[in-house]
Symmetry: C2
Subunit: 277 residues, 2 copies
Amino acid sequence: MPKDPQLFSIGEFSQISGLSVKALRFYDEKGLLKPAHVDPATDYRYYNAASAERARMIARLRELQFSLEDIARILAECEDEADLLGAMRRQHRAIAERMHEDRRTMQALEKVIAQEAEAARVAESGRFDVEEKRVEPVVVAAFRMKGRYEECGRGFSTVARVMGRHLTGRPLCLHYDGEYREDDANFEACIPLRREVASRDEVNVRVLEARHCLTLVHQGPYPQLGRAYRKLLTEAKRRGFSLELPTREVYLKGPGMIFKGNPQRYLTEIQLPIDDQ
Amino acid sequence: MPKDPQLFSIGEFSQISGLSVKALRFYDEKGLLKPAHVDPATDYRYYNAASAERARMIARLRELQFSLEDIARILAECEDEADLLGAMRRQHRAIAERMHEDRRTMQALEKVIAQEAEAARVAESGRFDVEEKRVEPVVVAAFRMKGRYEECGRGFSTVARVMGRHLTGRPLCLHYDGEYREDDANFEACIPLRREVASRDEVNVRVLEARHCLTLVHQGPYPQLGRAYRKLLTEAKRRGFSLELPTREVYLKGPGMIFKGNPQRYLTEIQLPIDDQ
DNA sequence: TTGCTCCTCACGTCACGTGAGGTGGC
DNA sequence: TTGCTCCTCACGTCACGTGAGGTGGC
């Protein structure tokens, strides 16, 4: 039982070094930080000032997020900060990569959160009346289609695939028919972009100009959109507006990235452009 | 052996879903994604379109870095993106925290890399001659001391502890004695700051004004600095300059954050202010 | 006897990847 | 027989943390 004042039991040394007792035992096992002395009778570990120095180096390197394997190599091969430059640069690159991944994840999360939060606000505010308002201009990537309305999902997929990271905001659909058409509807799937980029493949980038519109938010599944259209058209006639094409449907809340969700909670804003006179 | 065209073997389904066969087996074991059918004779797993839908949801949630445990809970409890808001916000916070940690690590790495790289440049450039130059102004946190030069380390620790994250650049020491003093030297340990902040405790923040100096970079251990001083003083006299106080020592490379390093490779720039006339 | 400090050993973490060894049908 | 696809089971990863069960001296 050495009572040498230079030697510290594992508990004392844990206090001094700031490393946990468990960590110290683990480092011993891994050969990273051997006690200065081990009592053969009790197997008690004893540490000294040199151990403290080494413990400090290990702790610093751990703060820089080096793995124990890296640390072992560094302590074996380096004796000067200059020798560390390569390892530091590799570590910097590795962490930069993880941060990059994390940033993408954060952006995706923020997008879903923002859209869902706004949809919740709209749903709660109960703005389900006809409104007359100016719709601001927006840059979109658009994919023109002919067929059934339900196929517009394919159009959005195409746009998303081609334009990837430029996308922002909620998808919308432009309708070029003056009337309802079952099988040969004429429409365009659009997704707003952060900025105007070049058109690619069959995806056309352009600015949708500002328009004065009569709008209505519809809550419910898409097959019931007809009701909202009727209400809008009736109101337009009553107010004496003449309508123009294309009309827009903005999907405030629809099938999401994760869930299809409950169609009863879908929110769609219909925008009918009206004559500015 | 079902040859139902709706059913896919694990290999086929792996292609379809983009999940590895190992991952699919693991998700089965965890109850996260059960095959639509398991052949009792062969234990072969078979998946269908509903499996594909669930696999897609799992893959999306994994991209958002949710744990399998979180995903299981989400799939059990949520059926609409709106139900996900809380989980998304928690996830966002968790990733933001990790990014914050990573950013600190990166900054620490960048600092060491930059300083060491510059020290290496200086050492290689062989600029070990007396120079006459203007030293730019710098904001520093300073701790005044009296005693032995070797104790300046304590001064730097104090400054670092009090000023923490404001620090930048290389530490320096101001000497107020016109001559060498063994035990009662009069000096000030300084570390540059990013910007001027309030003085705290005994750490004084101020701007060191620009000075015209005679400088010399010394390579080697601190006890040998005397040689460099003699060389500088001789040269000052030869050029007819009158010297002023305090003189500065800038530690371009000294004991590092990790290693004490080899004193033979320490680099110290001595700066003697000279009369501007 | 109780409390404290130390010890070893086993197990858990997280989401799989890497084999080893074996089967069944073409 | 060979090759392919599937199966289970065991082990490894990374840096410890969490016990369980035991010891030795005050």
